[in-house]
């Protein structure tokens, strides 16, 4: 059997495969060495010594040095091996000893490998020989071979017993001492009368080599090539002391004669450098008893390009077996890098970087925690240069703390091309080669465009007006104070506050008296205004700047002036809301499907604080969003991060207290004693709701229907729910390879209403370039999407007024996009990220400025066939980027993320403005905002898509409470049409399907929610009847149950209802939210202007319902709905 590794090695055997095998003669040691792992030359003076072991690769002496001693006495064979350690000074020792079990892993460690054949030449009796591998921990693999059993020679069950093994790392070398008892290998006194076979090998790691005594690469079990060991009690002892000295060959031997009689010796040394003729040394001399002779030969050396072939032979006259014979090749010059540890060290340097073309910054982090030589590193230099150029365009010295350093460098404007980030460590014995990271700068036509940034008011917003202290935006008037807060805000004609907003300041452990300054209007344009307030509290002085936008969103920036030597202990904003108008709460952290939406908690005193809120990756006590209000009217407070704040780790950021009729919303910005040695800036936002009126153009929002309803009285819209439908490969801005022919084809289909099969076929051919072939799952996937995209285009004809909106992902991106290598660093939420060219991210992008610029550019291209933008994943997510993302690092080294709130808002706002700029005032811009009704983000869209959760077959009344629905889903706070996903139940044949859909319709009718997906025919029929009644027309008044004065009283069941009135007629719809029962309705006829003679009939069936005077009673099944027409 030939081992695979050795079979490979044989192939590489070169010039000296015919070299003589080593032969040595051992004289019994007078005193056994102590097997303690410390090789003492004196202890091993009686053993034969050899210098160097031959690499398996070229059979030259391995560049890594080793010295071998072999000795014996009457009981043991002794072997010592001293071998060089890597610069790291350690060995690879992982193999774990496990009793007598053979540990193959020893071979993956630095190890010693032996083959001992004590029965060499035997033809009868014990003919076994033995193979063993051992690592520094003593983990061993061993086996025996039996020449007597050629067909069953190997026994892995054999275990060497009674051996001694000790090793230590000393003075840069691994010292190994071994004593193999003759008894353990079946050797008898008779066996000392014939030569043994003995292989000795050092298995090196990092990098791997097997170096052995002999100059022949042969299988270990190959008997003829085993070095030979003879035993002779009269033999002198030969030790090769060195092969070189002072940079030149110097072969030095020591020959000692411990015997009582003189020994005549012949020493022959031949050395051949490269192709030179051999240089030979011959000396014959006697060695007297107890004497030691030294022989030195200095052959010529021709330089590093040649190797030395050396033969050392020491013989005795008349004795055939030599005292010492070795025939080997070696090189005087050793390579500097003999170990892979140098390369490992380089790999162990962790270089992370981000390049920010928009910000002209380079962020670099260098970590050397995994570097073996980390304690030798004295510093580093980072440079940023064009690839192939040595002159850096930015560079800096780095000083490590705790084996890591991070720095942000300024860079010049980066022109197109390849760049490199290079880090070079400083220090003795550390990797000298720079660690290099690559960066590709492409320049795109969209960079720094102004699309969607024009200064215009887009309907239904109205120009901002400032009159005295009152700043008005659509539907709301804000009465401003000199302290930069609001004294009152009136929404839809009703005040929301019970009193003025107040700053609370603590200094010196006491509440400070806050004195407001004077209000100033810095600027006022129809779409943007800036107001300035100020306040002082003792030595604390603050300026409060509010930037107002047309949706009534005020971004407030509080600047606390520097007050050297002064401390501020607390700063809070208190907002005394009218509790009677705030029945609902919605609070959002960094995530979705876990946010609070529902009824404002009952009780007095502290009723809620942000420590109770869910969050994912927010650091500390910061919390970003709280809204309190009713079905429409309310107030949102929000912030993108706690940068500039000063928070302890316990006090909640947001607290809500009920004090009688006041619902006090308190926001804590400073909750610990904080020095004001430098100015401190705190930013947050305020926005009263509703942000705008519900859409009226081109028809009232109640007449917008998703998917396939076709009627001139409604606005149909359709969303294609993946970017694959329009040719993207991932979450991309544009179709495959930016081939916009698909837009043209879709546009044509929308004009003609015809499915363009030829185009689909042609487009599909393009996927072959990506290795996607017909018959594969991938082909079927893309074919299904492109075909469906084309069908959708043909099915949303412009002539019928369809609005057709494509899926995009505000938090996703495909790596194959041309922009990715250049802009990924600005866009990802991560502090650092991999630089991969395939794959993508679905949830971890933040649409920062450069993303928005690209988006606007490509959205404008989409407009040739689409009528809006759908954004998946509109929620707040922690962004840990400190350059583009707005994250910041606190004094404890914790990175506090931003939430992406402003970036999300800007993306949606710019898109709305872009459509207006492009003369497209009617659009369907759809943020998919499951459980995140964040008004400042959503206010510039016009359709909210909710409920991508709680899927299944359950009744919809069991999925979402009415309170959650009002607080989160109905869209009124933003002025957006409420849309939901279907609920994840699509099997029409399932017996439960029809009922489940009916419960959905009941919930949707009562809350005026639209469903994205296809509706059952009965649902369309219901809407047709409502539209026929006038629902959604100017004459039809709609009353929702969450509003004051709701003109329908429901008793007997826990049901929610809606009333619509048109002239002398009204429709009331109720849906059960509990267990059903006998439902009694009482319409407020007077309020509705209906005569007392109205009769009721079922809208669906047309059957009369018993009752009079607006009062009816009927059984209502659990979660069923009933619609009654009163006329």
């Amino acid at each position: 059997m030939i081992g695979i590794g050795l079979a490979l090695a044989l192939a590489s055997t070169s010039a000296h495969c015919d070299a003589a095998i080593p032969q040595i003669t051992l004289r019994p040691l007078q005193q056994a060495p102590t097997i303690d792992g410390r090789i003492d030359d004196a202890e091993w003076a009686g053993a034969v010594r050899s210098v160097g072991l031959c690499s398996q690769y070229n059979v030259e002496l391995c560049a890594r040095e080793a010295i071998l001693w072999v000795g014996a006495d009457q009981q043991n064979l002794y072997i010592a091996l001293k071998s060089e350690l890597p610069p790291t000074g350690d060995l690879l020792t992982r193999g774990v000893p496990d009793g007598d079990r053979d540990i193959i892993a020893a071979l993956s460690d630095d190890s010693v490998e032996l083959v001992v054949h004590p029965h060499l030449g035997a033809t009868t009796g014990d003919r076994r020989y033995f193979h063993l591998i051992v690592n520094a921990r003593g983990a061993m693999f061993d086996r025996s071979f039996d020449e007597a059993k050629p067909n069953d020679a190997i026994s892995t069950a054999w275990r060497l017993q009674g051996w001694q093994f000790a090793n230590q790392l000393l003075d840069g070398s691994w010292h190994v001492e071994i004593a193999i008892p003759f008894a353990g290998i079946g050797a008898t006194a008779e066996d000392l009368r014939h030569p043994w076979g003995l292989r000795v090998c050092r298995n090196w790691q990092r990098e791997w080599d097997q170096s052995r005594w002999e100059s022949i690469a042969a299988p270990y079990e190959d008997i003829p090539t085993m070095p030979r060991v003879e035993f002779d009690p009269a033999a002198p002892v030969v030790q090769v002391l060195s092969l070189h000295g002072e940079g030149k060959p110097r072969i030095e031997l020591s020959i000692s004669n411990p015997a009582a009689a003189p020994a005549d010796l012949a020493v022959f040394i031949s050395d051949t450098w490269s192709r030179n003729p051999p240089s030979e040394f011959t000396r014959t001399f006697p060695v007297l008893p107890g004497a030691q002779e030294t022989v030195t030969f200095e052959p010529p050396h021709g330089g590093p390009e040649g190797a030395h072939h050396t033969i050392i032979r020491v013989t005795r006259p008349g004795v055939e077996f030599p005292l010492y014979l070795r025939d080997f090749t070696w090189r005087l010059e050793r390579p500097v890098e003999r170990w892979a540890t140098t390369r490992e060290d380089k790999q162990a340097v962790q270089l992370q970087y981000k390049v920010y073309p928009y910000y002209r910054k380079l962020k670099v982090r260098v970590g050397i925690e995994a570097l073996a030589s980390k304690d030798k590193v004295t510093g580093a230099e980072v440079s940023f240069a064009r690839a192939g150029e040595s002159k850096p365009i930015a560079h800096e010295r780095l000083a490590f703390a705790d084996y890591a350093v991070e720095i942000i460098l300024d860079t010049p404007e980066l022109t197109a091309g390849d760049y490199e980030v290079r880090v070079t460590l400083a220090g003795e014995g550390v990797p000298t080669e720079p660690v290099i990271g690559k960066y590709e700068r492409k320049v795109f036509p969209w960079e720094h465009n102004r699309l969607g940034l024009s200064d215009r008011v887009i309907p239904p917003f109205t120009p901002i007006q400032v009159k005295g202290k009152v700043l008005s935006t659509v539907l709301r008037e804000h009465e401003l104070s000199g302290a930069g807060t609001w004294d009152q805000v009136t929404s839809l004609g009703k005040p929301l506050l019970k009193g003025p907003m107040l700053w609370r300041v603590q200094t010196g452990g006491e509440e400070a008296l806050v004195a407001p300054g004077a209000l100033k209007v810095e600027s006022s344009r129809p779409s943007f205004a800036v107001t300035i307030g100020s306040f002082s509290a003792g030595s604390i002085k603050a300026k409060v700047r509010s930037e107002w936008e047309q949706d009534g969103m005020a971004k407030v920036r509080v600047t606390l002036d520097a007050a050297p030597g002064k401390q501020i202990d607390g700063l809070s904003l208190e907002i005394p809301l009218d509790g009677s108008q705030m029945p609902y709460i919605h609070a959002c952290g960094d995530g979705l499907r876990f946010n609070l939406a529902g009824k404002t908690p009952e009780g007095d005193g502290l009723i809620w604080d942000s420590s109770k809120a869910n969050r994912t990756n927010i650091v500390g006590t910061f919390y970003p969003y709280v809204w309190l209000g009713g079905g429409e009217r309310g107030l949102a407070w929000f912030a993108d991060s706690d940068k500039g704040w000063s928070l302890d780790d316990t006090t909640p950021t947001v607290q809500i207290e009920r004090q009688g009729g006041v619902l006090l919303l308190r926001v804590n910005f400073i909750t610990r004693s904080t020095s004001l040695d430098a100015p401190r800036e705190i930013e947050f936002g305020l926005q009263a709701t509703p942000a705008k009126p519900m859409p009226e153009d081109p028809v009232n929002w109640r007449r917008w229907i998703g998917q396939s309803y076709e009627s001139p009285e409604v606005q149909p819209f359709s969303i294609i729910g993946a970017s694959y439908y329009y040719g993207c490969m991932n979450f991309d801005f544009y179709p495959r390879e930016h081939d916009l022919s698909i837009y043209e084809a879709f546009s044509k289909a929308r004009d003609t209403g015809e499915y363009d099969e030829a185009f689909v076929t042609q487009w599909m051919e393009g996927y072959r370039r990506y290795g996607i072939e017909p018959g594969t799952d991938q082909w079927a996937f893309y074919n299904a999407h492109i075909s469906a995209g084309m069908r959708s285009a043909a099915g949303t004809p412009r002539a019928q007024g369809w609005l057709w909106t494509p899926y995009t992902n505000a938090r996703g991106m495909g790596y194959e996009m041309a922009e990715w290598p250049t802009f990924q660093d600005e866009w990802v939420n991560f502090p650092y990220h991999e630089r991969s060219k395939s794959g993508g991210l679905a949830y971890d992008i933040c649409p920062v400025t450069s993303f928005q610029d690209a988006a606007m550019w490509y959205y404008r291209e989409m407009m040739q066939c689409f009528d809006g933008i759908y954004w998946d994943n509109i929620f707040m997510a922690a962004n840990f980027d400190t350059v583009a993302g707005g994250a910041w690092v606190d004094e404890k080294g914790r990175t506090h993320p931003s939430m992406g709130l402003w970036a999300m808002r800007d993306l949606i706002k710019r898109t709305a403005v872009l459509f207006n700029e492009e003369g497209r005032p009617v659009f369907a811009n759809v943020p998919h905002m499951t459980n995140t009704n964040i008004v400042p983000i959503l206010s510039f869209a016009n359709i909210n898509l909710d409920w991508e959760w709680q899927y299944g077959k359950r009744d919809f009344q069991d999925r979402f409470t009415p309170d959650l629905t009002v607080a989160e889903t109905i869209g009124r706070q933003c002025g957006n049409i409420p849309l939901i996903l279907a609920g994840g139940f699509y099997d029409e044949k399932d017996p439960a399907w029809e009922w489940c859909m009916r419960t959905r319709l009941g919930v949707c009718l009562v809350h005026e929610i639209r469903v994205w997906d296809w509706h059952p025919a009965s649902h369309y029929a219901m809407y047709e009847k409502l539209f026929d009644f006038g629902y959604g027309s100017p004459d039809c008044r709609v009353y929702n149950y969450w509003d004051e004065g709701f003109p329908l009283k429901v008793t007997g069941v826990d049901a929610k209802g809606i009333v619509m009135a048109n002239g002398p007629r009204a429709i009331a719809i109720v849906t059960d939210y509990s267990e059903g029962g006998q439902c009694a309705l009482e319409l407020d006829l007077k309020a509705l202007g209906l005569p007392p003679t109205v009769k009721a009939k079922d809208v669906e069936s047309g059957e009369a319902v018993e009752g009079a005077g607006g009062r009816v009673s009927f059984p209502l099944k659990k979660h069923d709905f009933r619609a009654l027409l009163f006329e």
């Binding site: 059997m1 081992g3 695979i4 590794g5 050795l6 690879l92 020792t93 992982r94 193999g95 774990v96 496990d98 079990r101 053979d102 540990i103 193959i104 892993a105 071979l107 993956s108 591998i133 693999f141 086996r143 190997i154 892995t156 069950a157 790691q205 990098e207 791997w208 892979a340 790999q347 162990a348 962790q350 992370q352 970590g367 925690e369 995994a370 994912t616 990756n617 650091v619 990802v828 939420n829 991560f830 502090p831 650092y832 990220h833 991999e834 991969s836 794959g839 991210l841 971890d844 922690a878 840990f880 914790r894 990175t895 993320p897 899927y951 299944g952 077959k953 359950r954 994840g984 439960a992």
Partner: protein, 263 residues
Amino acid sequence: MAIAWMGLPLTLALLPNVAAPQAPADPRADPYVADPTLRSLMDWVTLRLTFDADSMLPDMAAGAFEPTLHGTPQFAEGVKGRALVAGGESGGAFLARRLNAPLETRGAISLWLCPLEWTHVNGGNTEFLMTTNFSLYLQRQGPLHNEEGVVTRQEAVQFLMLSEVTGNNCLAFGTEDWPLGKWRLLVANWSWPVMSFSLDGGEFQSVSVKQSPTEANFGDLLVGSAGGEKTLMDELTIYRRPLTLDEARHLYDALKPPAEGQR
């Protein structure tokens, strides 16, 4: 669900109840020795459990190697040699992390998995490797369905990092369509803040945590699990650097089972 046979669940009955095999006669025939790429990769190993001796004792450990048993580990035929049964009534072992798993800096874990008793209906989580302070996991999240059959917890193999410092992040591959008896290779890399995850030598998925962890973010190691649906795990190996895609592919190619129908 497991099918009963002779009074035993079939999958248990199929577990070979034989002694651990002896080491191969030629150590150089081992693919981790014979294959130059794998051999070089072994230089980077800090911990390795092949379970070939029906034992939780590591084959390789750069640090302390004495395991503390947790439950009664069961073993069965593996992708190579023997494997540990994770989940069910099996157990695992605690191992020291220091020097064995460079979790605080950079590294990788490779692990072969084979579904043994997966119902794809409802099942708990099966941890293959986790830290004892519940910060880092390589596990299968068992599926959960509600009474209507709707998935309320996706089944997936996951590479999770959960701590206050790093925040919580997760990489996952869905396992809904994993057939019983098929071996799959997971490779989980970390070079903080980036963590990445590969299945069967495929492209790495990546995410980043919010902040790099420190030594204090990790406890010791727990290999194997007494909970969740039974899964075979084999050739668990931890490295002191992330693996490249080529290396992950190579690991997969070296031991991947024959294609369907070729067994």
